[in-house]
Symmetry: C2
DNA sequence: GTCTATAGGCAGATAGAC
DNA sequence: GTCTATCTGCCTATAGAC
């Protein structure tokens, strides 16, 4: 049968590249405008193809969104793994983590999951579940950094590490959210500096 | 001429009440679903009137949104004035401020301006300007509380009060944003507790 | 003030040719 | 894989009767 597994490797690569291009454009649109504020027509016009063509790669908007989120979560996990690879002290890992957000903001984008969290009440269930999973992953990673930092004395905070992890995620997402209307990254940076400083051990 | 000033006071009141009801429903929809995810049809169905009737009170969605924001900002300012009226110590004022957010969250809503900040790139200019003005107002109020607290020794923080004010706004907005997918207000409360504790003078 | 009726556009989606 | 053509439905908005 003429399934995808039987088509040539070259074509398969082309198909994947098209799909990736679609996700690239969709990602930019969702992160800057929101899931409910972009259409297949937007992507089609940007790429110079028709809407029908997009439906070949992603049957519907829900599937596109889910694929988008899966890729985003994978990349984010890779970025965290890359930070870990450096074997940096805990405070430096936190700074590197915050820098991931700053980079997104400099591209005038909101965190994908922060945007989707705002639209949560209107999204398909699979997308919602992936959003929660994303935050859970972030929380776990931060918890381990925080606990390590507290153990070796490079970080200082009270209560469960999970609470502080949640506070960090919330603060970074919120700083992004409020900063974007001002278009001023400095606004974000001062908040991050204050946040990281509050976790430093008292002299 | 048959302007609004010439109609009876009774009718004028009825008109205002209808307009208020429309704003009530719109507010609920925007805060839970977003400006781009509700329609005149949603409001009309909820109130049991037709879409055309809504257009009598608010010519278009942009005007409705602007009126909504104006009312919200006015009420928020009133709430802040009410907090000031109590002449509480600075830390208590901050707690009361955070409680405004908590109340919104308990009603399963996002801060109106936090939601609109997410959708910023897609909104009419007048709405965007009102969103920025709202955050500016909040920042000013927090600044004065923070400075007063630092002066009388009830609060402790480093750097300009404006930076800490921005951090507080961002943290509260972000905590709301991330908490909503979990539907667990406790998540929000732990962040707020940590935030307020970090501003307490060191023992 | 609220209604019916309707315009005009864009959304997401599908069928079928190439 | 991408196209043209088309469907259906919902959107914002308006005209005009009551």
């Amino acid at each position: 049968m003429a399934t995808r597994t039987s088509i040539g490797a070259k074509r398969e690569r082309a198909r994947r590249n098209t799909a990736e291009s679609i996700l690239d454009v969709a990602e930019q649109l969702v992160q800057s405008r929101g899931f409910n504020a972009f259409s297949y027509a937007d992507i089609a016009n940007t790429l110079g193809v028709t809407k029908a063509s997009l439906h070949y790669h992603f049957p519907g908007k829900a599937e596109l969104g889910h694929a988008l989120l899966a890729r985003y979560a994978r990349r984010f996990a890779d970025a965290l793994a890359e930070i870990d690879r450096g074997r940096l002290p805990a405070p430096d890992r936190l700074a590197a983590y915050a820098e991931l957000y700053a980079t997104t903001l400099r591209r005038r984008r909101m965190c994908l999951c922060g945007m989707l969290a705002a639209e949560f009440a209107t999204l398909p269930k699979p997308i919602n579940e992936a959003v929660v999973a994303f935050f859970d992953d972030n929380e776990r990673w931060l918890m381990s950094v925080l606990e390590q930092g507290r153990a070796d004395g490079t970080l200082e905070f009270e209560g469960p590490a999970g609470d502080t992890a949640r506070m960090i995620i919330g603060s970074l997402e919120g700083a992004m959210l409020v900063t974007r209307p001002y278009g001023d990254v400095g606004r974000f940076n001062t908040t991050v500096a204050a946040l990281l400083a509050s976790l430093e051990p008292q002299a």
